[in-house]
Symmetry: C2
Subunit: 359 residues, 2 copies
């Protein structure tokens, strides 16, 4: 694997990162490449934690900020390698992870390489396992094993947000909803109870779901309730006695995890509901001083964040945090994922300026 | 593995066969045991074909009959080993395969061992792969590789039929019914189309299905349409773009495979329907002389067969065939599968008598 070239522009660097396939649980290669590139920079103290890489300045500034991005992606969907498309209104990079979030990772690496003396001390975190269960999340693991590395006055997560500031984030809850039946030979099906047929009612309920869209601190959120997996079946000639529907609920940050769980249990009243994964949302927190200062510095409008991001994890650690990264989040996890190069360049330029680099 | 004891009574022999686990594709052990036991009988010519064992008398009788049973079972469902239960009205054997169809296999082995000079030449066939796709079916493979071994005037399949004669059988058709959607991040689900939710309509249609129950040759059949598998999902935070429901249709023998397929395609009109497996039914054929003679000899009432059995395969080869075996087919493929010992003994006694053995 060729090394990453941190002297290349951020768009070229994004392409290099995208072409290192790093679906969750397969981040070894990209973490090695990132670590090797950062180790070459004398002004940074670099440490490795699993497939998470941390690089810190230590200039004794009165303020420290975390700038973080995850290295993993959702599964490949015939959208590799990276492809650049020329457009009159500005070129695009297409491919898995361009938007979520290797464009942001490229900005982080560029800042690390080109701003040796930032006016604020910076902790750069490039981490594994964000797209899967919390137990694999590199930021979560780091907060357990080396919490001192995450201490900061403010955090910026470079999740895709159209190069605008997005505040708060929705929570996420995953449950298994289960039907049971009774096996029988499919030739004499009237002697058994088909658990897959029984799941029809679960899907009917999901189809009738009406999302809540609460307004919080002036930002409109948008909830969701979706089957993400379904499975059932024993053999080709046996009536199945179990069917499991895995459902993902995204909830606005005015609800706690417990309230979200109660909603889902009531929604699937009468069924066996088991929680498999849960993470709280984060309120926008726009009244906190560090958040205000950043927003004023970059001078952008603030939007709500629909997706769950590790902003919530910083909130739980008592660190104000916002999302600010290149790419339209609507294209995250979609086959035609892409990022405008202008977004990448704008994020890099604004963050450099905020860190006090001369242009 | 201890050898099978063909001098034991048929109930003991059934227990021995049940305790050799032989889920489809794992018939090596039981086929080895059956082959070894039959090789010890001088009056039989034994041949092995994969995990199918054929044993023939060759006494130059004017008539030859096939007596056949499959050695495989559906998957284990916490119902091994075999357990004998004492009951005032007659003992039962419980466990996977007791009913479908190792009780019948035990009768076959007992006939092979104890009737050295039958009045009709007999071809005993104990075969693999009946519970799964046709391509693995030992009788099907034998009809392709050694069709001469299946030549006969009449065939008895010892599939469970309450030790009554069952004529004809229903056909079976398996199809995949598919929905498609569009992937999106589950936090912004309104940007995609959830293929699992779309499958709700497929399950609704299955729940509204009304089975046909045609009367044929005085026997009432009972059709069925059941989901046997369902699967869908990409990742825990991605809207799934495909969901597949595998459906098994059991159809009465007054319909051809093509007619059954047409029915299923119309039933799921608007969906992508792919046929994955198909086998025709068999009309009762009670007017054929060989069938009449057998029914008179055993002196029993005749019932319709709901399940698909290899009777249909013999019908296709031009050989009249019936089901006649121990066990209530209602318990086949169910966790509490069992067989009354009286059924096993009755089948053995009646077939011995029909083969001219002195009691």
């Amino acid at each position: 694997m060729p090394g990453l070239d941190l002297t290349a522009d951020a768009a070229r660097l994004t392409q290099q990162l995208v072409d290192i396939e790093s679906v969750s649980r397969n981040e070894l290669g990209i973490a090695d490449a990132v670590e090797a590139a950062l180790q070459g920079l004398a002004h940074l103290a670099v440490t490795r934690h699993g497939n998470t890489v941390v690089a810190r300045t230590d200039l004794g500034r009165g303020e420290r900020v975390v700038i973080a991005g995850h290295l993993d992606t959702v599964p490949v969907n015939a959208n590799l390698p990276c492809r650049r498309e020329a457009r009159p209104e500005g070129d695009l990079l297409h491919g898995l992870g361009t938007c979520d979030m290797k464009g942001g990772d490229a900005v982080i690496l560029r800042l690390a390489a080109t701003v040796p003396e930032p006016v604020r001390d910076v902790t750069y975190v490039l981490y594994e396992g964000e797209e899967i269960e919390t137990e694999f999340n590199g930021l979560n693991l780091l907060s357990q094993t080396s919490p001192e590395l995450l201490e900061a006055d403010f955090a910026i997560l470079m999740e895709p947000s159209n190069a605008e500031v997005e505040a708060g984030c929705q929570g996420t809850l995953r449950v298994e909803v289960r039907t049971t039946g009774e096996r029988a030979h499919s030739a004499r099906s009237w002697k058994g109870v088909n658990a897959i047929h029984a799941a029809g009612d679960i899907l009917d309920r999901l189809n009738s779901y009406e999302p809540r869209k609460p307004l919080i601190d002036g930002l409109e959120y948008h909830e969701g309730l979706n089957a993400v997996f379904i499975r059932g079946g024993v053999a080709g000639n046996v009536l199945p006695d179990e069917c499991v529907v895995e459902v993902n609920h995204r909830f606005a940050p005015d609800r706690s995890e417990a309230e979200a769980e109660q909603f889902v249990r009531e929604f699937f009243d009468g069924y066996d509901v088991r929680v498999t994964d849960s993470a709280p949302g984060a309120l926008p927190g726009l009244d906190l001083p560090a958040a205000k200062a950043f927003i004023e510095a970059v001078g952008r409008e603030v939007n709500p964040k629909f997706g769950w991001t590790d902003v919530a994890r910083f909130t739980a650690l008592g660190i104000p945090a916002v999302n600010f990264g290149p790419g339209d989040p609507m294209f995250a996890h979609k086959q035609d994922e892409h990022v405008p190069i202008e977004h990448i360049e704008r994020c890099e330029r604004q963050l450099k300026s905020w860190l006090g680099a001369t242009a």
